[in-house]
Symmetry: C2
Subunit: 448 residues, 2 copies
């Protein structure tokens, strides 16, 4: 099935596909076998090997030259294309490498990857039962399971393109639930609103406030304690402040339909560290592409709502997709729950991994991550020279990336300066990797 | 490398990964080889074969039973997992099948799929040069090329999770460009706005108006002519109407910073059918996952802007990602251009396919799609019995899906009733497939 260079095009004939690979599953298969072989060698074997580099650093201008990115009019031979695949992999960061601690996603779960390869090969959209029968039912089941773990026996939900958009959904749903008029008449028809959030919240709350038309000024940041828990007294203060400024008159009612005292309830809430979700939350954003290693992207918005809020808030009944004269129950056409039209299938990778590992297996992985985190802290305390020096982190980072030995993210936090932010998500990590990390940080910084 | 059922877990030992496949690239490889074999047999070979079914229809309740979707505590053996992969594929619609005309995406481009498999295996996020060096540069190059085809020699852009979100970006950017205060102070600080769109617009404009806080009432739908082009006189009427209602006082200035006469310009615009983009557009949403068969999702928002509007509008400078004390040019950290945090890599599949086909190859594919569309119309005119009978489409649709012989979408349009909406995106299509389609429609409807 060799594909001769320069012979990419076959002259058009009646009833023949135009390009050599179009409509030729044998040629497609041959190409994909080669690419799969490269993926196995370069990512699954070498990419996960501690003796290989995490990244092959190049300055941007040099990398542009090496990759020859320009798109031209003539096509290229299969040989050239395979070489391009190798180059893309060579200069990409190996997020599956045991010394990649840089982001909240890392590692390579083979079952999740298998799910992703099948998803990409089936290439369908998650909007109707008609063209995604398996995935409509599967998404429902996976969301049900995630809700059960949060503590809800009923509810709704949807997979979104990332946690930030999940959070925006949550804010949009909250405002629609309280002020359904907003959908038709917009924010100008509503009283001024305020959005209370913890100082530890993700920056998507700010981005969402701007995107949803609320404006970042409407975000009121509430102080958190040492453990990151919102301080109820500060929330109370912020609410009073906002009310004095004429904002959010209906807030208490909006937050608490039964007329209870939200701040009072928060004060009494148990400080249980295993408490996954505050009992009064209406929605939870959960990103299984992080610690659960399902692969980017896999972000679930979970709702306690059973009143079809998602569809009422986002639905528009597009006639070319959501015909009402279909031959099956159109409640299965979940596409109108979202603001997207086409939507990727994000449930299969998580479902397949979960089937393979079982709930038990996923639980043990997380326990293992905590065990390693405790080990790292213990070992770090034993060593001299590990203390917070804010100028050091950027220097060590540059050195590790240019050598390609390791990747860890750093950041300032509150009044604290730059520190390394260790992520233990990769289920393949061992104590040896923790020891490597400490030794490597010492080595990289020995002259500082 | 067989993976004995019931032996999924290995007891934890110091410095050993927890689960049998975690940190075992040989076992991962063995699993993935098996899955890849299934993908080749069931999707690439059988899925694209005209002699196989497009779909294997099952009623939802029956399908739930067949799939055994429930997620349990114990894990499953490799054999069971492979059987699950086969079942998922068996009951999924084969969008790569030559008789799948149901959606604007179809076909299977092997180079694009190769790009998708590499993307999934590398599993990184498109937000910083640090962790996506290849893809930050590649996205820039692909967007530049797409802009050039639209007719812009400079500009900006970004890949979004689907065309609907690209359209929302465009609306949000327009409002920020005119009223930068909106980001901080929200819509309530602005004069009332109106959004003028064609009656032929995508339903995401309505969804976006609601999500962005404008409200669907702010959307003013302008009549279009027989060719789908907005009628300038009706736009003028709608603008006058909105102004009379107190909306959009600054609209003329907002749309046209040079103070020209937009409606007048629209009237004089050439009715050239090859005109890809009106010369006065500021942004274009382009979905290469449709006719270009790059795979879901691949949606580019293209901008003529060179003032860093994207970053100014969406940026929030999260300190843990976009550190300003980095050792490289932080302008390469494009993640702050978007409202997402983690963002999938959507450029590689398009880039690799483009490299393989060349601009020439992609052009010929599109020419071929138009050739086949003309052929289909010509052949249809030759046959009796092909006329618009609105009750027939849902019945034919049910029959074709339950037999699995073919899939075509249907919809009403304006005052016209249900009609079949033929999509010719699959580059592997031939005249024989058009003949099949006509014969099959006759066969399915012969008793009606």
């Amino acid at each position: 099935m060799a594909h001769a260079p320069g012979a990419d095009f076959i002259l058009m004939a009646e009833s023949k596909p135009l390009l050599s690979l179009d409509g030729d599953p044998m040629a497609a298969e041959a190409l994909l076998r080669e690419v799969f072989g490269i993926v196995v060698d370069e990512i699954i074997r070498k990419g996960t090997s501690a003796s290989e580099k995490v990244c092959e650093w190049r300055e941007p201008e040099e990398l542009k030259q090496l990759l020859d990115l320009e798109l031209r009019s003539p096509g290229e031979s299969q040989e050239q294309i395979l070489e391009r695949c190798r180059a893309v992999i060579r200069y990409s960061v190996k997020t599956c490498h045991p010394h990649f601690f840089n982001q909240l996603f890392s590692g390579l779960d083979p079952h999740a990857l298998a799910g992703r390869i099948i998803t990409e090969s089936l290439n369908t959209s998650q909007y109707t039962y008609e063209i995604a029968p398996v995935f409509v039912l599967m998404e429902e089941e996976v969301l049900k399971k995630l809700r059960a773990l949060v503590g809800w026996s009923s509810g709704d939900g949807v997979f979104c393109p990332g946690g930030s958009i999940s959070n925006m959904y949550a804010v949009n749903l909250a405002r629609y639930q309280r002020y359904p008029d907003c959908k038709r008449r917009g924010l100008r028809a509503l009283p001024p609103l305020a959005l209370f959030t913890s100082m530890e919240c993700h920056y998507s709350i700010m981005k969402g406030a701007a995107f949803l038309g609320l404006g970042t000024d409407s975000v009121r940041v509430v102080k958190a304690d040492e453990r990151g828990k919102m301080i109820p007294e500060d929330l109370e203060r912020q609410i009073n402040l906002a009310e004095a400024e004429g904002l959010c008159r209906d807030l208490r009612a909006g937050l608490d339909p039964e007329g209870g005292d939200l701040v009072g309830q928060l004060k009494e809430e148990p400080a249980d560290p295993d408490f996954l979700c505050p009992p009064r939350a209406d929605s939870v954003t959960w990103n299984p592409h992080k610690l659960l290693t399902a692969g980017l992207q896999c972000s679930a918005l979970l709702l306690r709502d059973t009143s079809n809020l998602l569809k009422r808030c986002h639905g528009s009944q597009a006639s070319y997709l959501f015909q009402q004269d279909k031959f099956y129950d159109v409640a299965l056409d979940t596409g109108d729950k979202v603001v997207q039209c086409g939507r990727r299938v994000d449930c299969l990778k998580l479902w397949l991994m979960w089937k393979a590992q079982g709930g038990q297996g996923l639980e043990r992985r997380i326990d293992q991550a905590f065990t390693l985190a405790r080990y790292l802290v213990k070992e770090m305390k034993k060593r001299e020279g590990f203390e917070l020096v804010m100028e050091v982190a950027p220097v060590l980072k540059e050195r590790m990336v240019k050598e390609g030995s390791m990747m860890i993210g750093y950041q300032p936090h509150g009044t604290r300066g730059n520190f390394f932010r260790m992520v233990m998500a990769n289920p393949a990590l061992t104590q040896a990797d923790m020891d490597f990390l400490l030794n490597e940080l010492e080595r990289l910084g020995q002259d500082l």
